[in-house]
């Protein structure tokens, strides 16, 4: 079953054309690597698939609805003044996550954030913030994962945790992964898209 289908997809920001004429077919349980230099539109493509941006040219269809999409952006999308627990609780409520507390606890534990769960995010290191962002992304067990440079900011321990997570998800969920470091996840990928 096709999860994402794009024909001639393009996106401009004012005068600047960031994405041009993209054709895409992502099937269920695919893991697509999106590569390209900075400014080639990787983040834009993921934003389009998430539904945050609308195409300015071409067509895009995503058959997964909002509540089942997990989006990891450049920014962690969490409130700095709130604690990790409070942030995840809010998202857990908004995403109607069943057994919210247990799931939050499990994710925080898995990504090594349980000890600092009550500290405000502003006190977190970059690596910890990225890990929290991963928790947020995985919280509602999404069917489609859109990960924009998931390894950015992670230390070795965090990167290993992410490796394990991706190994577990590959083949069970659909993933789009934008990355500078394709070799790390190359083995898991079912396809790749290089943006000029």
């Amino acid at each position: 079953m096709v999860v994402i289908a794009a024909r001639g997809l393009g996106r401009s920001f004012g005068e600047k054309r960031v994405l041009r004429d993209i054709d895409l077919d992502v099937a269920e349980r695919d893991l697509l690597l999106v590569t390209g230099p900075n400014g080639s539109g990787k983040s834009t493509l993921l934003s389009l698939c998430a539904g945050l941006l609308a195409p300015t040219a071409g067509e895009l269809e995503v058959t997964v609805d909002r509540g089942r999409i997990g989006y990891l952006a450049h920014e962690p999308l969490v409130y700095r003044e709130l604690s990790a627990l409070e942030n995840l609780d809010l998202y857990g409520r908004l995403y109607r996550v069943p057994e919210r507390r247990e799931r939050i606890g499990m994710l925080l534990e898995r990504f090594g954030l349980w000890e600092s769960r009550r500290s405000p995010v502003s006190s977190f290191s970059r690596g910890m913030q990225q890990r929290l962002a991963l928790c947020r992304t995985l919280l509602h067990d999404p069917a489609l994962l859109l990960l924009d440079e998931p390894y950015a900011g992670l230390d070795d321990a965090g990167a290993e945790l992410l490796d394990a997570e991706l190994r577990a998800l590959a083949g069970r969920r659909t993933l789009l992964l934008a990355t500078h470091d394709p070799d790390r996840v190359g083995r898991l990928a079912t396809g790749s898209l290089a943006l000029a």
Binding site: I69, L77, R80, L82, E86, Y91, L94, R96, R136
Partner: protein, 212 residues
């Protein structure tokens, strides 16, 4: 009913944020009292007593602008708004949750402003309090939507007052009328009408302001 659960979670989040950062509300309190003090110096000696009521409403509107400028600050700085917009909840719940918080801040500012006004200038009547309560709803409804618009723009703090002021002129008319008019009921009813119309309009169109 999950809609109201969402609204509750969002409103609680906004109140919690303010409790932690404590930047918006103290500024609003100080601003409104400072403005009232400035009025003392700006009103010539022989202006009627009623002029003070007019200026009170000006103070309220500008204090609202001050608060609204900060309304989406947290979401904008970390692009958290994207995270909220992606969630499966109705986008209007974001507006309602935030709007409730804005009303709360305005009300708290007025809890300080009205007694100060009564102390410095003129007595505060029940009609005035009712008008202020109704006005808060209208100001928050329209202001929250416009704040979201301004947050998405380059001009931000500059844009919000420009968008806001023409839209809230009717609120000022209703408020002043209820404060000093012979027939406050008519003006209170008008404020209620304004609230109804613009709350529904804001509620329905918020989705289109935060998505593409």
């Amino acid at each position: 009913m999950t809609y109201f659960a969402d609204v509750g979670a969002l409103a609680r989040k906004d109140l919690l944020l303010e409790l932690r950062s404590r930047d918006t509300l103290p500024a609003m309190l100080l601003f409104v009292v400072s403005t009232l003090v400035v009025f003392n110096f700006s009103l010539p000696a022989d202006t009627g007593d009623l002029a003070a009521y007019g200026l009170l409403w000006v103070a309220i509107v500008f204090t609202a602008i001050l608060g609204l400028t900060r309304a989406f600050a947290a979401e904008r700085e970390q692009r958290v708004l994207d995270g909220l917009v992606l969630a499966p909840c109705d986008r209007s719940a974001i507006w309602l949750g935030k709007g409730i918080a804005v009303v709360a801040f305005l009300a708290l500012a007025e809890v300080v402003a009205l007694p100060a006004f009564a102390l410095f200038f003129e007595p505060v009547t029940w009609e005035l309090v009712a008008a202020v309560a109704l006005a808060d709803v209208g100001l928050a409804a329209v202001g929250t939507l416009l704040a979201a618009m301004a947050a998405a723009s380059r001009a931000r703090e500059l844009l919000l007052p420009l968008l806001f002021l023409p839209l809230v002129i009717p609120v000022v008319v209703g408020g002043v009328g209820a404060s000093i008019g012979d027939d406050p009921g008519r003006y209170l009813a008008f404020l209620g009408l304004y609230d109804l119309i613009f709350a529904i309009l804001s509620w329905a169109s918020f989705e289109y302001v935060v998505t593409e």
